[in-house]
């Protein structure tokens, strides 16, 4: 908690770029699928960030508009090495897909890839695995968030409401706002209760 969003200077810029290049090159299926790979690289392997802090950076990245994968990279890079770090992480995330799409646009027509049996077969296998890569961080982040029986309903309700996918009430932003508001109100409420009790707790 104390170190939430403070800066940490132990990550070399080159290593940061390489880690995010790897992350960008193997992220299929959007920003959420990155989480497993980022967690492994940033939290488990290099120990640059605690899992709980990573969750706070995810909250920040998700609260803002734009491409989730890039937002996560910028937040993590900035946290580790400030402005330069955010630039390296963002470039690393963007470059693989930029180069691959550019190569396809220059040398191939979309039909070559779409109709290719080998490529489709490979992706038939990758797609269900990507789902598994998103299920794994649900559990590890639930642990990092220190959920208890009293707070477990929050992620369950959010997951239900967002995944039924009906208009405004399924918008992730709505639940980000409610979560932040809830945290703030709880803070106000416990502060005033503390005040009334004369600070004996």
């Amino acid at each position: 908690m104390e170190s939430t969003l403070t800066q940490n200077n132990s990550a070399p810029l080159r290593q940061l770029f390489l880690s995010f290049f790897k992350i960008g090159a193997f992220t299929f299926g959007g920003g959420w699928a990155m989480i497993s790979i980022i967690e492994r690289e940033i939290v488990d392997k290099h120990h640059w960030i605690e899992r709980e802090e990573f969750l706070d950076l995810l909250a920040l990245a998700q609260s803002l508009p734009g491409i989730l994968a890039v937002n996560i990279a910028v937040a993590v890079g900035d946290k580790l090495r400030g402005g330069k770090g955010s630039l390296m992480a963002a470039l690393g995330t963007i470059l693989p897909s930029f180069l691959i799409i550019l190569a396809i646009a220059i040398f191939l027509t979309p039909e070559v890839i779409k109709g290719n049996r080998v490529v489709s077969a490979i992706f038939m296998g990758i797609r269900p695995a990507v789902v598994a890569l998103i299920i794994a961080p649900v559990i590890s982040s639930a642990k990092a968030a220190k959920l208890t029986l009293k707070t477990l309903w929050i992620p369950m309700l959010v997951a239900l409401m967002v995944s039924i996918n009906i208009g405004f009430i399924s918008s992730p932003i709505l639940y980000i706002l409610l979560g932040g508001l809830g945290g703030w109100l709880y803070f106000k409420w416990s502060a005033s209760r503390l005040h009334r009790k004369g600070g004996d707790r």
């Binding site: 939430t4 969003l5 193997f26 992220t27 299929f28 497993s36 969750l55 706070d56 909250a59 803002l64 508009p65 734009g66 491409i67 989730l68 994968a69 890039v70 937040a75 900035d78 946290k79 955010s86 897909s97 930029f98 691959i100 799409i101 550019l102 396809i104 646009a105 220059i106 979309p110 890839i113 779409k114 049996r117 077969a121 490979i122 038939m124 296998g125 990758i126 797609r127 269900p128 990507v130 789902v131 598994a132 890569l133 794994a136 649900v138 590890s140 982040s141 968030a145 929050i154 992620p155 997951a159 967002v162 995944s163 992730p172 932003i173 639940y175 409610l178 979560g179 932040g180 945290g183």
Partner: protein
């Protein structure tokens, strides 16, 4: 001037595209198909390619449309790969720069006020929500396109098996004979899943 219009379109996508990935797709579609820069079919192709190439779909579409649109809109002026490359770079930067600055600015703001109880309380409230959002992303991807695109029962069960195996390999450490345990890297698991797909569906 097509380049300015492309930049403007992708700036808007970068500023108003919430929720990431496929949530942004309809916004991208309106911004690039409605002005006639690319056809509906090409857009569907780009989505299909994005699913088969790594990287965020927002970047993929910016790079691809930036490359093809100038040549399609004014072929007499901007045909040739260098004009395409310029369009790719401009669109990709335009879609990234607004949120880059927003994230950077917000992170600095939060860092300056990190000792404030309010900021800590807000993040404490956000954490359970983020867990729920990750879960919803997983649930939304458990669809027929990912598990049973050809509507064949044995393929559905095979894909559920691949998903379960991938989860076990990513989440649990594998005990080795020497008493050591290793956790497989998620990238390795993706490669293994791709190989499994090739062996099962490729022949």
């Amino acid at each position: 001037m097509i380049y300015l219009r492309l930049i403007w379109a992708y700036l808007k996508i970068g500023i108003f595209g919430f929720g990431g990935g496929y949530a942004m797709l309809s916004l991208v579609e309106h911004s690039v198909v409605d002005p006639g820069w690319i056809s509906e079919t090409t857009f569907t192709d780009i989505v299909a390619i994005s699913q088969m190439t790594p990287g965020p779909i927002g970047i993929n579409s910016a790079t691809y449309i930036g490359f093809v649109a100038p040549g399609q809109v004014s072929p007499e002026l901007f045909s040739g790969p260098l004009w395409g490359l310029l369009g790719s770079i401009l669109c990709t930067l335009a879609v990234v720069v607004p949120s880059y600055l927003l994230v950077l600015y917000s992170a600095h703001f939060i860092r300056r006020h990190r000792e404030s109880g309010v900021i800590k309380a807000i993040f404490a409230g956000l954490r359970p929500v983020v867990v729920g959002l990750i879960a919803s992303a997983a649930i939304l991807l458990m669809n027929t396109a990912n598990f049973n695109p050809n509507a064949i029962t044995w393929q559905l069960w095979t894909n559920i098996g691949i998903c379960a195996a991938a989860f076990l390999l990513v989440y649990f450490a594998i005990p080795l004979p020497g008493g050591r345990k290793i956790k497989l890297h998620p990238i390795l698991v993706i490669i293994m899943a791709g190989l499994a797909g090739l062996l099962i569906y490729g022949f």
